[in-house]
């Protein structure tokens, strides 16, 4: 699989640090920021494949950030990860184009599988667009 770049967004810095450390130990290329606006800032500078984002954050909340990300970068896959399960927020997020809605605590391997699946979806989308372009020419 081509190399995957993931961005973690969580205002709980302790959780963020631990998650990043564990992801890196498993050979993943992970960056972490602690707010929605920081996430948007970093996306405007660096290419990211998958964003893993907390839902409840001060300032721009997860749903808002998700909406912005999908609008500006529709091919970036977003996985919502929350400590506050809400059926309505889950479906709202899925409708806005999130890849999945996961709840803390989550098994680290399971999270990695989700990230890989989201990445594969993105790769397929990109390739599909590429081949359509080729055929048009």
């Amino acid at each position: 699989m081509e190399s995957l770049r993931a961005l973690f967004v969580d205002d709980e810095t302790e959780y963020l640090q631990t998650a990043i450390k564990r992801m890196k130990k498993r050979g993943m290329d992970v960056t972490g920021v602690s707010s929605g606006s920081e996430a948007l800032a970093i996306l405007s500078e660096q290419a990211m494949d998958v964003v893993v984002m907390d839902m409840r954050m001060p300032g721009m909340d997860g749903i808002q950030a998700l909406r912005e990300i999908k609008q500006r970068y529709p091919l970036v896959e977003v996985i919502m990860l929350t400590g506050h399960a809400s059926m309505e927020a889950a479906i709202q997020g899925m409708e806005l184009g999130a890849f999945d809605y996961l709840m803390k605590p989550i098994d680290i391997d399971e999270l990695i599988y989700k990230i890989q699946d989201a990445f594969q979806k993105r790769q397929l989308q990109i390739k599909k667009i590429e081949t359509m372009e080729k055929m048009r020419r």
């Binding site: 409840r56 400590g83 506050h84 399960a85 809400s86 059926m87 309505e88 889950a90 479906i91 899925m94 999945d100 809605y101 709840m103 803390k104 605590p105 098994d107 391997d109 399971e110 599988y113 699946d117 594969q120 979806k121 397929l124 989308q125 390739k127 599909k128 667009i129 081949t131 359509m132 080729k134 055929m135």
Partner: protein, 874 residues
């Protein structure tokens, strides 16, 4: 883009023309994309079924679960089903769009159970007790409402004071998002595990203690204090007591779950308030709620701030015998000073048994040595004093006082119409003050035929008093400190010195309770009775004469402990009560489950098998899974892309099996008509194949005459049974494969079976689903056949459901090598149970076949250690 892709596909479908290189590449990607959707659909399907299983299990079982379980499972299953709908729509655009509306409809009906709109308490943050009556229980909690009501209606003396209402509590919990933070931490913890619960409880309590009181609440409390002091003309020390809403819920006692802080000065009142609030998240209270299925949000903590009574003596009065419903005597427990040791169960107390009547009379009196008492410090707090002189041995109530107390108890009981548990104090002027009262829970004393005695049984200890009836056996575990409590094993006998209220948190794990000290009036006794845990209190030297890990049988009725397990005694045990069933949280889950779990769409051939008929999430799941497999099949069959058309299997010779490669099931792409077995790298398919070919099939068993007639008759009425009638998938044995997936639809003889499996390194996603149905022969024989298969599979650990003559077997989340073994078994059965129903009427022949199949399976599995390498070609 989808539109363009589709016209692009139809081009090949219609003309059969060969695609260009670019087009072939686009097709390959389109296939990969479809397969990825399919795989994600299967994952979501699998998870949804798993969560449904968990929900069913939780509703059936006795294990406690909290509201966060309800929320997280319902959210999980909603998300999964939503994904399933998304993926089926990606696989077959426009075809099943109405599913989304069905999904939303069902979800909207689940929502109220998962996120109920709690009514905001309206009212003042603080209320003087003089304004409180029974109607204000929603604001003040039942404890304070009862107290005020009795003062008002019966003219009883109660302390002056005020209540921080549920509105005041909400005001505090909302400030700084305190409640939201608590909920977040609760979700992230596994509160079913004692160590996690302990850590969570500690963290939440600290959080509460450290949160500042919002200004408006602090102000309201200060004003109420000021008024009391102005009226009294002096400083008024307070007793700060819990009065949580819901303490009167469905027989829940909440006895001793919360803190009271005694003799508090005005300056520290805020801290004391927070301590009482924090005790809502103390380990005992959290365990209790979990065990009783009570929602966190249903028990807001109102806090009573009552003038401290500087008691000469105090205690508890039961208006009936709590451990014998036939005994109508009143029982008074009393001690010198504050009644603290009575409710804590930490010291011996005077006991008066009082015969009902007008006037009541004293029937019995037990006056032990009472070496200690608790009194108020002048400034703040309480202290323990050693009782000097002959006071320790004197009764702390005169007979007249005891009888006056009994009289008060009878009036209260009369007023409420049920037995009461009354906490009282005798103040400096010998005035009787009512501190609190609540309904008393009584249990039935068991008679001797329920708990027999045999002199041959080895008694290792006897004495004390029955605190809670019943019989139990287990290993002794002596608890002396907090750390011991964390280690406390499930099913052990709790043995401890004092009957401290804290040990109530162990009652969800303890089989019985033995204490050296403490009376029946303590909180621990109350909770033991509520949970129906046998308990003996006041058993001398229990912690020294018993040793940890010693196996004993406790007869709480006879106040005896026997060495070892006495089965004859245990045989008379009452069935334990399921505390979860019917609880509020259980009801929430049950309500949601009605929209999630039932399966109405059973038969894919029925005209009702369509989106509009989906009434539950399970229906949607079932429908989409069926259609997804169908769409994958149809798509593979329909177009003429040679790499992806179905291939006939060749294992040296052509076989009557066809293979549809969905993604990466072949080592190298195959253009022609045949695929060699060696070229197939699908792990689950190779495992099934190993089972299918493990032994040649010996042909159908010799048919008895009736069996043959039954099959012939069925064949004339069921067209699908006739080999000449071709339906879409029914005519051939198809494997749909990828490297980690396989779906085998097979029609061998008259049987129809589907094996579907996902097997990879991702253990959590692994599953096998086996479906078996149809077949010749009459219904009774077909039924016997599915039962036959169930009996074969169940011992291997498959979860089996049978509806009519459909059998479904499922197994999941084993590592790859184990999944491979299971698939071999299914492959074997698919072949070797063909046409067995013709002999189903003959038990002897059936038993023979059962034995033969089991032996053959064992031989197959033992033949060589099956590994992934063996299944896959090198």
């Amino acid at each position: 883009m989808i539109k363009r892709l589709r016209s692009f596909f139809s081009k090949f479908q219609d003309s059969g023309q060969q695609p260009s290189a670019a087009e072939a590449e686009a097709l390959r990607i389109a296939f990969k994309d479809r397969y990825h959707h399919f795989k994600l659909l299967l994952n979501a399907n699998n998870r949804a079924l798993e969560v449904m299983g968990e929900i069913e299990q939780a509703l059936r079982g006795r294990a406690p679960f909290g509201m966060q379980f309800v929320r997280s499972r319902c959210t999980r299953v909603s998300t999964d089903v939503f994904q399933i709908v998304q993926h089926i729509n990606a696989l077959a655009p426009k075809k099943y769009e109405s599913l989304l509306a069905r999904f939303k409809e069902i979800q909207s009906r689940i929502n109220p159970f998962v996120h109920p709109q709690a009514a905001e308490p309206r009212g003042p943050l603080v209320m003087p007790l003089s304004n409180v009556d029974r109607a204000s229980a929603d604001l003040t909690g039942p404890k304070m409402a009862n107290l005020a009501e009795l003062a008002r209606q019966l003219g009883l003396t109660i302390p002056h004071g005020f209540v921080v209402t549920s509105a005041g509590f909400e005001c505090f919990m909302k400030s700084g998002e305190l409640q939201a933070e608590i909920n977040r931490r609760t979700q992230a913890a596994e509160i079913e595990r004692p160590d996690h619960l302990y850590a969570l409880s500690t963290a939440i309590q600290q959080l509460i203690i450290q949160s500042p009181l919002p200004d408006e609440l602090a102000l309201a409390i200060a004003e109420a204090c000021q008024k009391m002091e102005t009226a009294a003309g002096r400083q008024v020390p307070l007793a700060v007591r819990s009065s949580a809403i819901g303490e009167d819920l469905s027989g829940a006692s909440f006895a001793g779950q919360y803190r009271s802080v005694l003799n508090v000065g005005r300056e520290t009142l805020g801290e004391a308030f927070k301590e009482v609030v924090a005790s809502k998240y103390g380990q005992p209270a959290m365990t209790y709620r979990l065990r009783r299925g009570i929602r966190d949000e249903d028990v807001p903590m109102c806090v009573g701030c009552l003038q401290m009574v500087n008691a000469k003596a105090g205690g508890v009065l039961y208006t009936r015998n709590p451990v014998d419903i036939r005994d109508d005597a009143l029982i008074v427990h009393a001690t010198w000073g504050l009644p603290k040791t009575v409710v804590d169960g930490t010291a011996p107390t005077d006991q008066f048994n009082i015969r009902r009547g007008s006037p009541p009379t004293i029937a019995d009196r037990r006056i032990p040595h009472k070496p200690q008492r608790y009194v108020c410090y002048a400034e703040e707090g309480v202290c323990r004093l050693t009782t000097t002189g002959d006071q320790a041995d004197r009764p702390c109530l005169t007979d007249a006082q005891a009888l006056a107390l009994a009289e008060m108890g009878m009036r209260i009981e009369n007023y409420y119409g049920q037995p009461q548990d009354v906490e009282w104090a005798l103040d400096g002027d010998d005035q009787l003050v009512l501190l609190q009262c609540r309904p008393l829970q009584q249990s039935t004393a068991r008679t001797t035929d329920m708990t027999p005695v045999d002199s041959r049984w080895p008694v290792c200890l006897q004495g004390g008093q029955t605190a809670s009836n019943g019989v139990a056996a287990g290993k002794v575990f002596i608890v002396t400190k907090e750390a011991d409590a964390l280690q406390f094993p499930k099913g052990a006998i709790l043995v401890t010195v004092q009957a401290l209220p804290r040990w109530a948190m162990l009652l969800d794990r303890a089989a019985a309770v033995i204490t050296e000290q403490g009376g029946l009036a303590g909180h621990l006794a109350n909770v033991a009775r509520e949970f129906q845990i046998p308990a003996i209190f006041g058993m001398p030297e229990a912690t020294t004469r018993l040793s940890s890990l010693q196996a004993v049988t406790v007869d709480a009725d006879g106040c005896r402990i026997y060495e070892g397990r006495i089965e004859a005694l245990l045989a008379h045990r009452d069935a334990p009560r399921n505390l979860m069933a019917g609880s509020r949280i259980w009801q929430m889950l049950d309500g949601a489950a009605q929209m999630i779990v039932p399966l109405n769409l059973l038969n894919p051939d029925s005209p009702d098998f369509k989106p509009d008929r989906c009434r539950t999430f399970h229906d949607i799941t079932r429908f989409c899974h069926e259609k997804a497999v169908h769409e994958m099949f149809r798509f593979g069959k329909a177009h003429h892309f040679p790499e992806r058309s179905s291939k006939q299997l060749r294992a040296k010779v052509p076989m009557q099996w066809w293979i549809l490669n969905l993604d990466d099931g072949f080592k190298t792409e195959v253009e022609g008509h045949f695929v060699e077995l060696e070229n197939i790298i699908s792990i689950p398919m190779r495992a099934l194949w190993a089972g299918i070919t493990a032994q040649p099939w010996e042909g159908p068993p010799p048919v008895d005459g009736k069996g043959f007639m039954s099959v012939m008759f069925q064949a004339t009425t069921n067209q699908a049974l006739l080999p000449t009638v071709r339906t879409t998938m029914a005519n051939r044995n198809y494997f749909m494969i990828s490297q980690n997936y396989c779906s085998l639809q097979s029609r061998l003889g008259f049987h129809f079976s589907i094996v579907e499996a996902l097997v990879s390194e991702r253990t959590a996603e692994n599953y096998i689903n086996f479906h078996f149905k149809g077949g010749g022969a009459d219904f009774a024989r077909r039924l016997k056949r599915v039962q036959f298969i169930r009996d074969l599979l169940e011992p291997y650990g498959f979860r089996i459901t049978i509806k009519e003559d459909h059998l479904n077997a499922r197994i999941e989340q084993y590592i790859m090598s184990t999944m491979i073994q299971y698939l071999k078994i299914l492959g074997f059965l698919t072949i070797h149970t063909r046409q067995l129903d013709m002999i189903m009427a003959n038990p002897a022949v059936l038993a023979h076949y059962r034995q033969k199949i089991l032996t053959d399976i064992d031989t197959m599995l033992a033949a060589k250690a099956t590994t992934t390498e063996e299944v896959l070609p090198a």
